[in-house]
């Protein structure tokens, strides 16, 4: 009996080997979740965009350095006599997967669709008033005022074919409230390097190389099998057992072990996302504190004491197992406006921190509740736990309230928290994006994530001027001034930049993309 079992096992083993051996050009790519939809304008979400970038293309996109690159547009510039108009020259000789030619009317149609009401991409195009085709390969975008950085907003706005959309009745973006789903949710017709062959939501999607793609270099990968595997341990097991070739979402705790495993390698790189703490400003006492006659966070000495008590290096080493880059500024290093001076952070100094607390009148400390998400960022809850302990050393007695992001996020946007953890990515790669939402006084479309209600009218005026300043040198100077104030006032308490890790079989290489949107056209094979 035992012998039979061994034979059976060997037989099964050999079939696994045969099934596991695929041609060198097929890549089985596993992630934690699936693209939400194939409709390119319906969701502004990283995983969905990453998937779509293989099938659809944008006018411009970013390489792994974070630099803007031409894609369907070959050149772009502000119109000579009118700074409120952007002119895009389009690539010629590009065809959609169904053979239709790519022209200016497709760009006009797609940008209009992307800024329509049901689209989730519309926020990136709010300043646009009109998109017009000048000729077959030139498009002009009219904005309300000068908008020097508009092309930065285009890196995830995909171009669809106008005729295909009309023929399939998908001129409108999928509306959740509608009774039926839209053809574009399940079908694609892009200009991208890969053509979607089949898709089973949450199970697998298959794409093959687009032979007619415009790029000169043919990608090494000719077939992509995309496999969402939700469970972390299972996803890693699938890589170890050779059932997948590439795992994009690698849990921090597995990185060390994988590095020591034969046949598998890890690529790491900084992500465009900073993790920080925010606190409540203003005279009003904190809702969760035992200090009922004042707001301790409003005292700059308390904020300084907190910064001196938080050990960023320890968090990076212990909580993040080395997979984080500690920082002193709430701005990822890719973003314009980042400097090394800003990035520097003070060494831990508990004596001075305690002295500052005493000067501020809190030698006995105070209590406060810290709200943290527990499923949004890498080890978010563990970071908060570490900070609770660190602040305890200077007498700040923190109670931790941990929630899933779906419950945490409304606390911040509705200003129902005294002290909170949040992460911030900067898709435009420009500091104004940080200022608009985190630093500007909460009013109108500004300060949406200014959870602590920080307010400084002087800064507000400077921030608003960034939107329309077309003299780039003057603009950079203003950005630097704003950062200086933000840093010296300690408007936010930045901790670190997240690091991304991709795991793959050791004969392939895929560099980490700062927005976690790697294109598999950039994947290379050894030899």
């Amino acid at each position: 009996m035992k012998k039979v079992m061994t034979h059976l096992g060997l037989a099964l083993l050999s079939t696994t080997m045969i099934a596991g051996a695929t041609s060198a050009e097929t890549i089985r790519w596993a992630r934690g979740s699936d693209a939400l939809t194939l409709d390119p304008h319906s969701q502004n979400q990283g995983v969905t965009h990453n998937f779509a970038h293989h099938i659809y293309e944008t006018l411009v996109d970013r390489d792994v350095e974070g630099t803007l690159q031409p894609r369907l547009a070959t050149e772009w510039s502000l119109k000579e006599d009118d700074p409120t108009v952007w002119v895009f020259k389009l690539r010629e000789g590009v065809t959609f997967h169904d053979g239709a030619e790519f022209t200016a009317e497709d760009v006009v149609f797609s940008l209009d669709r992307a800024r329509s009401e049901a689209s989730n991409m519309r926020q990136l195009h709010v300043e646009v008033t009109e998109v017009r085709a000048v000729d077959d390969y030139t498009v002009e975008v009219q904005t309300t005022g000068p908008s020097p950085l508009y092309p930065d907003n285009l890196t995830n706005t995909f171009i669809m074919d106008k005729d295909w959309s009309e023929a399939n009745d998908v001129v409108e973006v999928q509306d959740y409230a509608a009774g039926a789903d839209n053809y574009a949710v399940r079908n694609t017709n892009g200009t991208g390097p890969y053509i979607l062959q089949s898709r089973e939501v949450d199970v697998r999607s298959v794409m093959t190389l687009n032979e007619n793609h415009w790029a000169e270099d043919t990608p090494a990968v000719t077939e992509i099998i995309y496999l969402p595997i939700a469970d972390n341990a299972t996803r890693i097991a699938a890589l170890l057992s050779g059932e997948v070739d590439l795992v994009q979402d690698v849990p921090v705790q597995d990185i060390d072990r994988l590095q020591g495993t034969g046949g598998v390698k890890i690529e790491t790189g900084p992500e465009n996302r900073v993790i920080y703490f925010g606190y409540r400003f203003g005279e009003e006492p904190l809702a969760s504190s035992n200090v009922t006659d004042a707001n301790p966070f409003n005292d700059p000495r308390v904020r300084e004491a907190m910064e001196l008590a938080v050990d960023r290096d320890a968090i990076a080493q212990v909580v993040m197992r080395g997979q984080a880059i500690p920082t002193g500024v709430a701005n990822p290093p890719f973003v314009a406006g980042w400097t090394e001076e800003l990035d520097a952070y003070p060494a831990v100094d508990l004596d001075r921190a305690q002295k500052l607390m005493a000067e501020a009148g809190y030698e006995d400390g105070f209590t406060v509740t810290l709200d943290t998400p527990n499923n949004r960022y890498v080890n978010d809850e563990a970071i908060s736990q570490a900070v609770v302990a660190m602040l305890g050393r200077i007498g700040i007695n923190v109670t931790l309230a941990s929630r899933p992001v779906a419950q945490h996020s409304p606390l911040v946007t509705n200003n129902q928290t005294d002290f909170y953890l949040l992460g911030w990515g900067v898709p435009t790669f420009d500091s104004a994006y940080v200022f608009n939402d985190l630093v500007h006084t909460k009013e109108g479309s500004y300060g949406a994530y200014n959870g602590g209600l920080f307010s400084d009218p002087e800064l507000d005026a400077k921030i608003q001027s960034l939107g329309t300043e077309i003299d780039m040198e003057a603009r950079d100077a203003t950005v630097a001034e704003i950062w200086e104030t933000v840093k010296s006032e300690r408007v936010l308490l930045p901790i670190h930049n997240q690091v991304l890790a991709y795991a793959m079989r050791d004969d392939i290489t895929l560099p980490v993309h700062p927005e976690n949107q790697p294109l598999l056209t950039g994947l290379t094979f050894a030899e």
Partner: protein
């Protein structure tokens, strides 16, 4: 009989309504669906527009009535996450879950019976002690741990079975089955074993206890006294008389196998309704969660209804009690 069934049906409808209400109230506290749908980078004004379009700003009572009204027509709306009709999503995931549930129920029943009979017939053997000890592990270890353990042994180390997914499937008129392909069958092994372990040990212990009970009865002694073969005594008389409670439990457990498949499906990335539900909970995809809970409630209600009717047919005492009220 008819009155009994009607009464049970009315009760079932009440149960379903109650489940719907609880589900609905709970969802109010799961979190803000918009926050998970759009991510932090979407402006609040745009989030508000979405909330309005989805009717999330309406009074709860109105939302609930709308939900019930649509549910009665089998209409559960569009998934917030995937933007596809929920009914269609669940139906497309159902074959995977049902195949897994029936495979593991079969394993549980066959091995549970065999081991149960064996341990009852040799109550003092070494093997019995071993099996009972192992069965304790089966009862007490959480499913996800068993699943991950099996993956590491049989997928990563030995490479015998796939670690995730369902393999190749064949579409039979809307029923996507993995039972007809080699890779589909191989993919089924680990999740089916994982899911069956708990039920297996349950059935085994039940059969063993019942068997021991029956083996002590007079008629077994008489059967032995008549000189019947061991085989006829054990299987013809003893086992037969233990089967009634075993079948009842198995029937009832089928519902929980479908419901408990959630964990197993998540660990093995099995594309069934359970893993759909888990992902939906994480992103607060209310239409899918609601439809799933209603579906599971329906499964339980239906199974209970059938079991009750079967009792009524089998057990004359119930008929007397039920008839008393009518006359």
């Amino acid at each position: 009989m008819l009155a009994f069934i009607i009464r049970r049906l009315a009760q079932s409808v009440l149960v379903m309504l109650f489940v719907a209400l609880i589900a609905f109230v709970v969802f109010r506290y799961v979190g803000d669906p918009i926050a998970s749908m759009v991510g932090v980078e979407t402006r609040l004004a745009d989030q508000e527009i979405m909330r309005d379009r989805l009717g999330l700003n309406d009074p709860v009572v109105l939302q609930f009535l709308r939900f019930i009204g649509n549910a009665l027509q089998g209409e559960f709306g569009i998934s917030y996450r995937l933007q596809q009709p929920v009914t269609e999503l669940i139906l497309s995931r159902l074959p995977a879950t049902l195949e897994l549930a029936f495979a593991s129920a079969t394993i549980a029943l066959v091995f549970g019976l065999m081991l149960g009979v064996f341990t009852a017939l040799k109550p003092r053997g070494f093997a019995t002690g071993l099996i009972m000890a192992i069965s304790l592990i089966g009862v007490s270890l959480p499913t996800f741990l068993i699943g991950i353990g099996l993956i590491y042994i049989f997928a990563v180390e030995l490479g015998w079975f796939p670690s995730f997914g369902r393999g190749d499937t064949v579409d039979l008129g809307g029923w996507r089955t993995g039972l007809l392909t080699e890779s589909g069958l191989r993919s089924l092994v680990l999740p089916a074993i994982t899911l069956s372990l708990f039920q297996l040990t349950l059935i085994m212990r039940l059969v063993r206890a019942e068997m021991l009970e029956v083996l002590r009865t007079e008629y077994i002694r008489f059967a032995r006294a008549r000189g019947l073969s061991q085989r006829a005594v054990h299987f013809g008389h003893a086992l037969k008389n233990t089967l009634v409670p075993v079948l009842t439990i198995t029937g009832l457990q089928l519902g929980s196998v479908i419901a408990f498949a959630i964990v197993t499906e998540t660990v093995f990335q099995w594309p069934g309704v359970g893993s759909l539900f888990i992902v939906s909970v994480q992103v607060v995809d209310v239409p899918v969660m609601a439809a799933y809970l209603m579906f599971i409630a329906l499964v339980f209600v239906l199974i209970n209804l059938i079991v009750d009717i079967l009792y009524y047919v089998v057990d004359p005492r119930l008929r007397v009690d039920g008839g008393g009220g009518g006359k």
